[in-house]
């Protein structure tokens, strides 16, 4: 046991300190800065006003994903405001010499999907992006968090970020998931357990046998929604699965550098005897498929559970929040959520749009038809995933079932690109937020796994996938 045992969070933090001063936040070096069209234009304007260049374009990568349509790529971007924003991203990437996977690039995709897919995200790195789901990259043992546009400008200008150290929070998940229970259900269960603000001021480290058993893609799903439990970052120590995933990817180290990198990565896991500021445990054996019923991701229940009754809540503000949420969702306290009629199913987003998510959805939809009253959209996370899914014939499964097979992007997760709910509509979505109007003004979102989403698409109502088997 080392004399000064440290968590992986502490190790990555320590190795990136550029400057420290009493009474001021630390200056932290950033290894990878991912940029997209929505949160960066004002930062680039700031650089131009200052007459400052991007310090490390070689550590900066840009794409467009949020405001881009998911219609065929030979069609123009019809929304003139979105088209301007996408064009501005291209101009900024060109002017500042930043590698750019543009709208027509074969590697375009959701920023948190293409980073790992191309081997940009690696263990022990600091990763930032003007996007709160940057925590996704924590699946590789990187300290990855979302930043605001002022901070985007700061990192572009200096490759550093002024940052106060967060507290550490161990989320231990032991046991084995039952059939039909997925990584998405783990993170929805955490949100329900500690609440949407439960991890505020903290970085999660996910540990335990159930986390070790997850694939890299599943680990990304878990880390992705750390912010939904209030934590700016969430990570998982790297292991053989991590190295296996990274090996041979486009930007992963090669040859001797690979061996050096792996040797370094093996020093990262939390030392025996290291302690955390907070901790919580989740029992994987007893987890059920989870679904949200309300207007924040912490308002979740097991799929066969009853919608909570505000009358049972002591705190007046919490009671009022729940009452308002049920009013917005037009749901009845105490009623089951399973069986609730739905209008739309969305399978996609940086949470659940990777090839394994699409395979899971296809495994349910194969040989079945989606309900005639449900619009089902399947949106791959990247153009690469789209190609892979098509090579496997998954697109034929989706189309034969009556689902739409679209181009890569954030799509209806954030509803900036024309893919959206109409007022009053209900959706089961594999995305990460069910806030009021998140998927379209007046829309009502139930968050769930790809398995639950696909099963619900078939039945036209919120459905426990295990009842289909």
């Amino acid at each position: 046991m080392p004399s000064n045992p440290r968590t992986i969070i502490q190790k990555v933090w320590d190795s990136h300190i550029v400057a420290e001063r009493e009474g001021a936040p630390s200056l932290l070096f950033i290894d990878l800065h991912l940029v997209h069209e929505v949160t960066s234009p004002q930062a680039f304007s700031g650089l131009r006003q200052r007459g400052v260049k991007v310090r490390r374009p070689d550590l900066t990568f840009a794409t467009v994903d949020h405001s881009t349509p998911t219609t065929p790529r030979n069609l123009p971007i019809l929304d003139p405001i979105a088209a301007t924003q996408v064009a501005q991203m291209e101009t900024n990437a060109q002017d500042f010499g930043i590698p750019y996977f543009g709208f027509q690039n074969r590697d375009q995709g959701i920023v948190h999907v293409i980073g790992p897919e191309n081997g940009l995200t690696q263990p022990g790195m600091t990763v930032v992006c003007g996007d709160s789901h940057t925590a996704t990259h924590g699946a590789f043992g990187a300290l990855a968090f979302g930043i605001g546009t002022s901070e985007v400008e700061m990192v572009l200008a200096s490759q550093c970020l002024l940052q106060k150290k967060s507290k550490s929070f161990e989320v231990r998940v032991d046991g084995a998931l039952k059939n039909g229970v997925t990584a998405k259900d783990i993170i929805l269960a955490l949100c329900a357990k500690i609440g949407i603000g439960g991890g505020t001021g903290c970085v999660f480290e996910f540990t335990g046998s159930a986390i070790r058993a997850l694939s890299m893609e599943e680990r990304m799903t878990v880390c992705n929604m750390s912010i939904e439990a209030g934590a700016r970052a969430g990570l998982i120590a790297p292991d053989e699965k991590t190295y296996e995933y990274l090996k041979g990817r486009r930007f992963a180290p090669k040859g001797e550098k690979w061996d050096e990198a792996v040797a370094y990565w093996k020093t990262l896991p939390t030392d025996e005897g290291a302690t955390y500021d907070h901790s919580v445990t989740i029992d994987a054996d007893s987890l059920e498929p989870m679904i949200t019923f309300g207007t924040n991701p912490g308002m979740g229940i097991a799929i066969n559970g009853a919608i909570p009754d505000p009358a049972g809540i002591a705190d007046p503000l919490e009671r009022e929040s729940l009452r308002k949420a049920l009013q917005y969702m037009a749901l009845e306290a105490g009623a089951p959520l399973a069986g609730q009629k739905i209008d739309v199913v969305f399978i996609g987003s940086c949470t659940n749009s990777r090839i394994s998510d699409l395979r899971a959805a296809a495994s349910v939809l194969k040989g079945r038809k989606v309900s005639a009253s449900v619009r089902t959209m399947v949106v791959p996370g990247s153009q690469e995933i789209k190609r892979q899914a098509e090579a496997e014939g998954l697109h034929e499964v989706f189309r034969a079932a009556g689902a739409e097979w679209r181009e890569a992007g954030c799509s209806m997760c954030i509803a900036m690109n024309g893919d959206q709910l109409s007022p009053g509509q209900y959706s089961v979505s594999t995305s990460n937020r069910n806030f009021e109007g998140r998927q379209g003004k007046g829309g009502r979102t139930f968050l769930a796994s790809p398995l639950t989403a696909a099963a619900s698409a078939v039945m036209g109502v919120v459905t426990d996938v295990r009842t289909l088997v």
Binding site: A24, V52, L59, Q85, I147, A415, G437, K441
Partner: protein, 199 residues
Amino acid sequence: MKFESTVTQIQADNIDTDQIIPARFLKTISKDGLGDQLFFDWRYNADGSPKPEFILNTDKAKASKVLFAGDNFGCGSSREHAPWALTQYGFQAVISTSFADIFKQNSLKNRLLPLVVSRDVHQQLRDALAANPDLTVSVDVETQIFTWTGGPAVAFAIDPFAKHCLLAGVDEIGYVLQHEPQIAAYEAQRIGTLNTLAS
């Protein structure tokens, strides 16, 4: 940084940044015009007309510098458009029992004070407002004291660096760029070791 103002209350917990400014307004490439879009979906009818009963459409709120809200204000998306919209509307402080991390950082960078109070103080101020909706609060960042008409003087915490930046109007990016020698030294030490993306 010292100001006095009436209080605009939106008493809900977990007000997320999608409510503060809906995502469809993030397609802009400038920071301008966001004040009119603040709380858009709570503030306007489907035809775009303002809902007269919604607090932000009242003259009193329009003249107010202080928003008073529930726990975990600003959760969700990292969009800095949220503090841009709040400050453009006229707010200089938000009072709550807690703030989401990214929102808090974004606010301080835009001279919007995230003022954290205890649950007790939160309740006292709510009670005071129920008795006198027109009361004013005064906030002084230098002394870290805030109070309201007939209320106690309440000390509030603020990170010393953030306080310094607010009071002295420090340009944080300029401050960071002054560390050029340290940044260059760090980069020199890292090349060929940890950082495999570097050329």
